[in-house]
């Protein structure tokens, strides 16, 4: 149906991202396609957990199994915006949440006064006017953790269903930030439960609630006898896509999560982060904080004694 309706149709799940943007005329649509048919189920297999994309963020963050097996994911879901919003917002919606920019997430009247930007109605990026691309920021809290957990999604579209890694859902562009086709819908998230896996998410924002991340770090590590056998670190809100920092993960392989190693890994992780002046607080400070959130996420991993054989 989405394919038939074309670009003037959009999917809506919880509506918490879409409706404000419709009101601000950031999206103009003729049709909305409700995704209430999406599964809200949670299937906890022994080696994989399948989460229906329609499950609300509050249900996901409050689920005992998810919290035990994927504490970083549960934490990320529980840190999205505010409690009433999490009762409507879905886990699929948060994976697909639009990129943000404080030149873009404004009312039509404001954007008209400021001059429209590349992402909507204009032809330059107001953050980086000399750049040919849009630098809106990926602001999903859950996507970085899902990527770090080697998660995959099922997308359904006119050509049937396919499964792809969560990391393959995104592109490094503020406008075309999703790699899926517009007529495709994320229907399921699959998180693999590998023994010895620990996961953590640290979110930085000005207030204790409501705010989007202005820097965030997801860290997932598998440990064997206290030694890291694999580690993925993915940053939120520092680029137009969830930004994986493989060098940091690689560095930790074969090491213990001890203060020096954590600091060095965090240093490596912070390097590729390039926050720009389009979110709350200064981008210099946000850049500086990347190291801190990574360190705290790794410290959290280190502190997790339990988990799945960890």
């Amino acid at each position: 149906m989405a394919a038939d309706l074309g670009p003037r149709a959009m999917f809506v799940a919880g509506g918490t991202d879409l409706y404000p943007k419709l009101k601000r005329r950031q999206f103009e649509v003729d049709a909305l396609i409700g995704l209430d048919f999406l599964p809200r189920t949670l299937r906890n297999g022994s080696d994989v957990c399948v989460i229906g994309a329609g499950l609300t963020l509050s249900a996901a963050s409050g689920d005992v199994d998810i919290t035990e097996r994927f504490p970083g994911y549960a934490r990320a879901a529980g840190l999205v915006s505010s409690p009433p919003l999490r009762n409507a917002g879905t886990i699929g919606g948060n994976l697909c949440v639009d990129t943000r920019c404080n030149y873009y997430d404004m009312t039509y009247e404001w954007r008209k006064a400021a001059g429209f930007c590349l992402k909507k109605d204009g032809d330059i990026c107001l953050v980086a006017p000399s750049s040919p691309r849009c630098w809106a920021v990926s602001s999903s809290d859950t996507a970085p953790v899902a990527i770090a957990l080697d998660g995959s999604v099922t997308v359904a579209g006119p050509d049937g269903e396919r499964e792809l890694p969560v990391s393959a859902l995104y592109r490094d562009d503020g406008i075309e930030y999703m790699a899926k086709q517009p007529a495709e819908v994320v229907t399921e998230l699959r998180l693999r439960a590998v023994p010895g896996t620990r996961s953590a998410y640290v979110k930085l924002r000005r207030r204790g609630s409501i705010d989007f991340p202005i820097a965030g770090a997801a860290a997932v590590a598998r440990l064997d006898g206290g030694v890291v056998t694999s580690c993925r670190i993915v940053l939120s809100a520092v680029a137009s896509h969830p930004l994986e920092v493989p060098a940091a993960g690689e560095f930790l392989k074969g090491r213990r999560l001890e203060p020096e190693a954590i600091q060095e890994a965090a240093e490596l992780a912070a390097k590729p982060a390039k926050p720009l002046d389009n979110a709350d607080l200064s981008h210099f400070w946000r850049k500086r904080m990347v190291r801190v959130v990574v360190e705290r996420a790794l410290q959290d991993l280190s502190d997790q004694g339990g988990g799945l054989g960890g």
Binding site: N102, M106, T107, A113, G208, V292
Partner: protein, 782 residues
């Protein structure tokens, strides 16, 4: 929670009773302006300027008028008469048709059958502009404009107002000082952010306009409507709807209030306008950004010998309360500290931003911030305990300040003692990153002069008793602070009733006698005194009638007493009024600052500051407030806690900032208002000094306790990290930058480097009042 014991025999005064409108509010039955929808109501939307500064060349509304459902479109040509809250700055139009001065300045308005149609019609209005260079900072306003000045009065350049006053021998005072210190501070602008968006509904029936509005000042709106609509006052009725939060933000007459009246007159139908949240940011009238320079001379033991205080206020595009705000940045420094010689130079400039005005504390939190931190620094320099240094300079009760302000009751000492003891300030545990800071403040219990010069009372109350029922009538507007409850409590106290038994009619210019409005913390003191007078007169009638029957008032029911009195005297009505004493000093500008009484506060903030991130976490706040007498301690605590909250928001995160001529983030997401998770526990102490002139000794509660929070927080940051943040809000990046400078051996501070050169006139020299003489009655001007 600690409360002083009551001093006189009272029954309901001093009791923590629920508000008289509590049930309406918790059940959703209070009717706010936007909740009203009279039959056939039209919806109004306003077209606003997209440019910070531009001349309007033409406005074409023809396409908008053709849209089905549009009933009227108006522009500035329909409402050309200028208005403004202060008589000296009548510089606003409801709709501008000549020139726009900030992004959001209203240009045209549409009344349509539906809000979306009205919005589409606004989109269809074509406006041609000649864009002018915007002026966006104090520095830019002080130099010659590239294109033209924002307003055609004031000057030089974009200066709006210059003030220069000198009390006593300032040079002599500095000559006596053993230490002299200078500092520069900046207090960023911020906005009220009431939860309720401004809303107004007007009808036009029988040639009379009725307006229901979310306003703090029904009377001043009434006056402005009469002027702009060119209708006599008797053809206009203004009613204050249930109020969803003011904090000073609804204290001006606003364009949308005038517009809905005009549209109702043109269409003959009710018209409603509710501002969007973005428009609320443009309506603003919030805290002025103020740059401050202060120089103080002290003796070795920390006694102040002289002070010189300079302020520069970024006023935005219009006058609003700005002249008063400018004076307020210099007025209250001597009300807490005994300053023997004092020079104040103030300057307000116009910039192409939404106009600033009165926000909770009106013009005084900024200098309070500077003054408290400045004294803190002096204490550190002299090796004195800051609390001790401040105490040595505290004003004493029943004195007059060097700038002629009359201080009566003053609980500074007791407030200080409460918070210092409760917080364990002197015995606190030292650990890295933990800091504790202390500050004090004072605020008015109502401005001693009205906004327009007159000799009439500031508040009037009528009481009617019949067949056992009591109704009190007063123009006072309850904006949530509980002024209705205060009136009911006072009437109930005098008549032997419970507050819930007193019916109230308030804030309606047709049916209630005047009250000037809910601003300057004036209602408890002024309307309270008026209510007290009216109630005592009523009680006297009841007592006389009961005693005429040979019985005692206390032995008969109220119903019986009222029947006896009505039978004896006929219609039972009494009235009371309150006119503040004429206590202003003998100089031009003395009208800003006098108040019949001053409240006092002291505050301690305990926090952790992270040297790595610059993030500040407030652990706990102790606040003591000298309220004179708590008419209702529950409401006083609520006002104090709310003030602390707002002060903390200003200190840590709230700021109204601009980028490329635009408000950077006119939204509730990006303008950071602290959430439940950002607010620490607050321990409140009510100090009762029983003011000689307040009703039952009461003074203000709703504004003063905001003031000490930002400086106490910055003092605590210094205590924690050894860096001064001389500019609020204290964002983490400022803390990090200050620490970086400290590490490099530069001055360990973040804040403005310099105060600009401002062409202040030669000061008006004023003799200080004789130390213990009688107060001369003076006429007031400003």
């Amino acid at each position: 929670m600690a409360r002083n014991a009551g001093v006189a025999e009272v029954r309901v005064v001093g009791k923590p009773l629920p508000k008289v409108d509590a049930v309406a509010k918790v059940t959703g039955r209070a009717v706010y302006a936007d909740d009203m929808l009279p039959a056939r109501t039209l919806h109004c939307r306003i077209l606003r300027s997209p440019h910070p500064h531009a001349r309007i060349l033409s406005i074409d509304t023809s396409a908008a008028r053709r849209i089905p459902g549009v009933l009227a479109v108006i522009t500035g040509a329909d409402l050309p008469i200028k208005f403004g809250i202060l008589p000296v700055t009548q510089d606003e139009r409801a709709l501008e048709h000549e020139k726009v001065r900030y992004v959001g300045d209203p240009i045209a308005a549409v009344a349509a059958t539906d809000e979306e149609i009205a919005a589409s019609a606004c989109d269809a209005i074509a406006v041609e502009y000649e864009v002018l260079e915007p002026v966006m900072s104090i520095d830019a306003a002080l130099v010659a404009p590239k294109d033209e000045r924002i307003q055609d009065y004031g000057g030089p350049n974009n200066i709006h107002k210059l003030v220069s006053l000198e009390f006593g021998d300032v040079d002599g005072g500095f000559a006596q000082a053993q230490h002299v210190r200078e500092d520069v501070f900046f207090y960023q602008g911020n906005t009220h952010l009431p939860m309720e968006q401004h809303s107004a509904v007007a009808t036009f029936v029988d040639g009379r306009v009725t307006l229901w509005s979310s306003t703090q000042v029904v009377h001043y709106v009434h006056r402005a409507l009469s002027k702009v609509l060119e209708l006599p006052i008797h053809r206009i009725r203004v009613i204050g709807a249930a109020h969803g939060g003011g904090f000073g933000g609804k204290t001006d007459p606003f364009a949308h209030e005038i517009i809905v009246c005009k549209l109702a007159m043109l269409t003959g139908r009710p018209v409603k306008c509710t501002l969007t949240r973005e428009e609320v940011f443009y309506a603003h009238r919030g805290r002025h950004p103020v740059l401050m320079w202060v120089r103080t001379g002290v003796t070795d033991d920390g006694r102040i010998t002289a002070m010189h205080f300079r302020t520069a206020l970024d006023g935005g595009a219009y006058g609003s309360y700005g002249v008063a705000s400018t004076f307020y940045t210099g007025a209250l420094q001597p009300v807490t500290y005994d300053i023997p010689a004092y020079r104040f130079e103030g300057c307000r400039v116009f910039t192409n931003k939404p106009p600033c005005g009165p926000k909770r504390g009106h013009g005084t939190p900024q200098p309070r911030f500077a003054l408290e931190l400045h004294l803190e620094k002096i204490a550190h320099e002299l090796g004195l305990d800051p609390v001790e240094l401040k105490r040595r300079n505290f004003v004493k009760p029943n004195t007059r300040t060097v700038n002629w302000l009359r201080v009566t009751s003053c609980g500074l000492e007791e407030c200080t003692q409460k918070v210092i003891e409760a917080s364990g300030y002197r015995t606190r545990e030292r650990r890295p990153g933990r800091g504790v800071g202390f500050a004090i403040s004072s605020y008015l219990s109502g401005a001693g002069t009205a906004i327009y010069w007159n000799d009439m009372p500031h508040s009037e109350v009528q009481i009617k008793v019949d067949r056992g029922g009591v109704t009190a009538y007063c123009g006072a507007m309850d904006i949530g602070q509980g002024s209705d409850s205060v009136l009911a409590t006072i009437v109930a106290e005098e008549l032997g009733l419970q507050p819930a038994e007193v019916r109230l009619v308030t804030a309606d210019t047709d049916t209630t006698p005047i009250d000037l409005g809910s601003y300057s913390s004036r209602v408890t003191f002024m309307a309270g005194n008026a209510a007290l007078e009216a109630a005592r007169k009523m009680r006297a009638l009841l007592v006389e009638a009961v005693e005429a029957r040979g019985r005692k008032f206390d032995d008969v029911s109220f119903e019986e007493a009222s029947v006896l009195a009505e039978a004896r005297f006929g219609t039972l009505t009494t009235a009371g009024s309150y006119t503040p004493p004429k206590i202003a000093g003998p100089y031009k500008g003395s009208g800003v600052g006098p108040s019949p009484a001053y409240s006092y506060s002291a505050c301690v903030v305990d926090l952790d500051a992270d040297a790595r991130t610059g993030l500040v976490t407030v652990n706990r706040i102790w606040i003591a407030h000298d309220v004179g007498r708590a008419i209702n301690p529950l409401l006083v605590e609520g006002q104090v806690e709310g003030s602390v909250y707002m002060g903390l928001g200003e200190a840590l995160m709230e700021e109204q900032v601009f980028r490329k001529g635009l408000h950077k983030w006119p939204s509730m997401l990006e303008y950071k208002s602290p959430t439940f998770l950002d607010m620490p526990e607050v321990e409140t102490f009510i100090v009762e000094t029983v003011d000689p002139e307040g009703p039952y000794g009461a003074k203000e509660a709703g504004q003063g306790p905001l003031l000490p929070v930002p400086p106490a927080l910055c003092a605590a940051v210094y205590d924690a990290l050894g860096v001064w943040i001389d500019e609020i809000p204290v964002t983490p990046e400022k803390v990090i930058e200050a620490l970086r400078r400290k590490d490099k051996g530069e001055p360990a501070r973040y804040g403005p480097q310099r105060f600009p050169s401002i062409p202040y006139p030669a000061p008006i020299k004023v003799e200080p009042p004789p130390k213990h003489g009688r107060f001369a009655h003076q006429e007031v001007t400003y």
